[in-house]
Symmetry: C2
Subunit: 229 residues, 2 copies
């Protein structure tokens, strides 16, 4: 079997990696923190304020695997860093963290979205996508796009033991996308699938607007599965 | 149960509608023609050349339900019209058919994509999407986006009896999107899901580039399913 045909479940051993989550005080960040801690990972929630980061960590049940720090300290201490900050200020924050993020895999899960009286819609991004913006301001990091479509509600729900979701993983570095696919598979029920180069990340981010429309119409917490893989 | 909460399988009775397919000589058009004819619909394949349209109809097994005509005659004769033409020339062709398409539901399934040595990528579209471009040049039609992700290979394969796919349906007119959802459900295995307004169609079209990447990596004919709906 060639490397190209490896099944999506295979991949590097990521079980001991410490995961930092910038902007980890939001629902998406807290939900990912909770699931990775449940899977056994040390998790560092980052925030502009160390106090808010510590409070967010506490809010997840005083799990000793989850700590709170400033974004800069989280970026420095983690093996792999997830970016879950608001789109507003995304580029500026990452640029300010370029030094502690150098040499690391940075997983961007930010969806640049707007809302008006007709619902949700994608915002235009000069670089093409949030992930490409991250890559532009972090030339010494390896940026991967992933975890855009995870439902924070489901991640945070203690009654939900398995998340029915394929995590689409976008990036230009095979070792990095393999690692992020393996990380996605640490969430019970989830599967990480390679879904293209970073230049194809914009539509994956924007598709979150469609999931919002689907959730509204069908009163759901919609996720995606890819068939025939 | 309110109308908002109707299950996705419910919908208007579309079983007797004649379906026209502009650009129906391509693989996607022929595949859809085959499946709708199998479901009992009269189907008209349209082409710039009536002869090529007739040949495409013949290629599908001399099914008497499938006929070939010029695009203009197909537009005039059909109840509902699917646009499966190449992106190159899409707007000009539709503008030339505005009169026969007036008053009809027009389903655009065109994906504006480019290919280079690094693979497939979405093309920038001034109107935001192929579907929005169709709406701009067809002010007297009701444009719906759908059927972007169907695999022509699977649609055309006689050994494939069921297609494992949710068809994302985009549009601003509820009656029209309901009808197109019902049409999608005429393909065994497929389900039509409302996935947002027409302004959210661009990323659905562009996501086809990701499916191309997935197909290449995993040697698959990937489709999408939406979970929790």
């Amino acid at each position: 079997m060639s490397e190209q045909q490896a099944p999506p479940g295979a991949g590097p051993d990521v079980a001991t990696l410490t995961i930092g989550i910038l902007g980890g005080t939001g629902d998406q960040g807290r939900g990912l923190a909770r699931r990775f801690a449940l899977a056994g990972h040390p998790v560092i929630i980052g925030s502009r304020s160390a106090e808010r980061a510590a409070a967010a960590a506490q809010s997840l049940g005083a799990d000793p695997r989850i700590r709170g720090m400033t974004n800069a300290d989280a970026a420095a201490a983690a093996d792999v860093v997830i970016v879950a900050v608001p789109w507003d200020g995304h580029g500026e924050l990452l640029a300010s963290l370029a030094a502690p993020l150098a040499g690391k895999i940075v997983i961007d899960c930010v969806n640049p979205l707007g809302f008006d009286q007709r619902g949700c819609y994608p915002l235009a991004v000069a670089e093409g996508s949030a992930a490409q913006q991250a890559a532009a301001v972090l030339p010494d990091s390896v940026v991967v796009g992933a975890f855009h479509h995870v439902s924070a509600v489901l991640l945070l729900d203690p009654a939900v033991h398995s998340v029915d979701l394929d995590v689409l993983v976008l990036g230009d570095d095979r070792q990095a996308t393999d690692l992020v696919q393996a990380l996605a598979a640490r969430i019970p029920g989830a599967r990480g699938l390679y879904a293209g180069r970073l230049r194809n990340c914009g539509q994956v981010e924007a598709l979150t607007a469609n999931l919002v429309s689907i959730n509204r119409r069908y009163k759901a917490h919609a996720g995606l599965r890819v068939t025939d893989v």
